[in-house]
């Protein structure tokens, strides 16, 4: 009985902590404006769509990896998929939940675009260093 209660409470708390953790990753990049180059490439200016996420991820995989970004991108990728699953199942029953998951997924796409921006800047810096060396 006690173990069952602890199990249920822990699962609920884990979901809440995980969602908040992912939101803290997203919020840290939400205020950052995208460079004109990235805006042209991915077609995102101020806000993104959830459909943009996969496309931006493909661009991200084409750029050299930055170690600092890797874990955050993986966590947001997992969060994006969980939101997709929730939106497709529970979202059909509760329209407000569907709207919320879509808004969160859009922010995931914007987070990915900011990560792409950083990777492009990083690649440029590396190239510039090699040219000067």
């Amino acid at each position: 009985m006690m173990a069952g209660l602890i199990f249920v409470f822990s699962l609920a708390a884990m979901m809440q902590f995980f969602v908040s953790y992912c939101r803290s990753l997203i919020a840290a990049s939400a205020r950052r404006a995208l460079s004109p180059d990235v805006q042209d490439v991915v077609g995102i200016t101020r806000s993104a769509n959830s459909e943009d996420f996969e496309r931006v991820m493909q661009f991200l995989h084409l750029c050299p990896e930055r170690r600092e970004d890797r874990n955050g991108i993986q966590a947001i990728g997992a969060y994006f998929r969980i939101l997709g699953a929730v939106g497709k199942t529970l979202g059909k029953l509760i329209p407000s939940l569907h709207a919320w998951t879509e808004s969160e997924r859009s922010q995931c796409a914007y987070f990915a675009a900011v990560a792409l921006d950083r990777r492009i800047a990083y690649s440029r810096d590396m190239l510039a260093e090699q040219m000067t060396a």
Binding site: F7, A28, N71
Partner: protein, 232 residues
């Protein structure tokens, strides 16, 4: 016998734990987050100790099983100290850190005595049952304390990204482990789940802390209201 996958998880986990301390030393917040670094150093030492005991006595030996669960209980207590350190950082401006530390120590002692009294009613398999029972309860109390800290962060409108991310990742870690030990307690035959969850959770915590130390400095801020699952 563990296969290459288990060895890799073991080795990578220990490497990540050491990396947290190194990153913290290089980026400067080592003293400020001393209790967190103490926990990670202990965790690294315990990983090395487990490997030594395992290589001498084998995975299914009683020596290894006792060492595993007792070291886990000690690590959980170290994690309490890490949590106390976080409380001290969050409440430093209110001057309530000392009272909170005393309260948390009393809670820790109370949880241990409660677990002992629960197991004392069934003295068969006393030690092994006690270890699982105490781990489940310690992780659960840790989860509740982290939840209270998270609520306080939202209430106080704490905006330091590093503190927020460390607290949230600790919450995820405590909840995974509390759920895992509860499952272990209720269904001891479900080895597939409760054997693989702790190493996975054990890797998440150092990765999240490395990210918080490397990616943000102590002054990086965000709007805390954006983080609540229910909009405030």
């Amino acid at each position: 016998m563990p296969g290459p996958f288990e060895y890799t998880i073991w080795f990578v986990g220990a490497l990540l734990e050491a990396s947290v301390v190194v990153c913290s030393l290089l980026r400067g917040p080592f003293r400020r987050y001393f209790t967190l670094n103490l926990y990670m150093s202990m965790s690294f030492l315990v990983s090395a100790g487990r490997y030594l005991v395992f290589s001498r006595h084998g995975l299914m030996s009683s020596e290894y099983i006792y060492f595993y669960y007792y070291s886990d209980a000690i690590l959980t207590i170290c994690l309490y100290f890490a949590l106390m350190g976080l409380y001290a950082i969050v409440f430093e401006e209110l001057g309530a850190a000392l009272k909170l530390r005393v309260f948390m120590m009393l809670l820790l002692i109370g949880t241990t005595l409660f677990s002992l009294s629960v197991v004392h009613q069934s003295e068969a398999r006393m030690l092994t049952h006690y270890i699982v029972e105490i781990s489940q309860n310690l992780y659960f109390v840790g989860l509740v304390l982290t939840y209270v800290l998270w609520a306080a962060l939202l209430k106080l409108r704490e905006s330091r990204v590093r503190v927020i991310q460390i607290v949230l990742s600790l919450g995820v870690y405590f909840s995974i482990n509390a759920a895992n030990y509860a499952l272990h307690n209720a269904y001891p035959n479900l080895r597939v789940i409760w054997e693989y969850l702790p190493p996975a959770a054990g890797m998440f915590l150092p990765i999240a802390w490395i990210y918080a130390f490397v990616r943000f400095d102590d002054e990086a801020r965000l709007t805390p209201a954006r983080l609540a699952v229910v909009p405030r």
